[in-house]
Amino acid sequence: MNASAISIENVKELCDKGFEFPEEIAFLSNACEDVKNNKIKTIQELMKAIGNLTVAQYFKPLDEFVKNFSPFSLIIYILFFIFYIVYLFFIFVYGKNESMLLFFIIVVVFLGALHFILSEVVNMLFFTINKQIALLLPPEFMNEVIKFLYEIKSEIVDGVILNATLITSFLVLLPIVGNALYNMAKIKMQQSKKGN
């Protein structure tokens, strides 16, 4: 059966009759209410509505987590802001004679380690989800679901982690590189003055 074999009229008729959809397409019953109220008029809208309903259903625990995490994230932002100001102050005021190369190496090594640890944790998480799904789903759906999860992991989760690493490296390394360049320029200027 392909998508064109199902029309909105058919779905609406079946919903009106209170038809119980077979297990393989049970998700169609989720959108019955919207089909009956003419909120969904095309197959594309139907598919999108089913996608939204599925996400709304399975993302409930994560929604709750995001709601509870929001005030906590504000504390992290404030702490980061305070420490970043102190960091800039120390780099540009007290750190004039310190080795910027040492700080550069520390930042690169720690950032690499953070990125690696987080990626490994995500990999482990997805591995556990795959194992759980293997216990719940019949084998014929397994490949599709694992492919789907892999797509989400590589396109969304890895993307967020990579962006966080890049932005953090920019935030933390920029003052170090800036200070090193400033020091080098100052030394060169002093040397050229002595030369004259």
Binding site: A3, K48, G51, Y77, Y87, I106, F110, F148, T168
Partner: protein, 50 residues
């Protein structure tokens, strides 16, 4: 020497805080978009199944 060690600690703490702040900002900011993308992916998967 002590000053350098203190600097190293400051760099590490700032790095960890910065990473956490950026990660949580990106996650909270893109959460709606992530849900939408997953819903679209599910929709396209369903249309291939039926």
């Amino acid at each position: 020497m002590l000053k350098t060690v203190l600097f190293c600690f400051l760099v590490i703490i700032t790095l960890i805080l910065s990473f956490s702040a950026v990660l949580s900002f990106l996650f909270l900011n893109d959460y709606g978009k992530i849900k939408e993308t997953i819903a679209e992916k599910i929709a396209s998967k369903i249309s291939t199944i039926i």
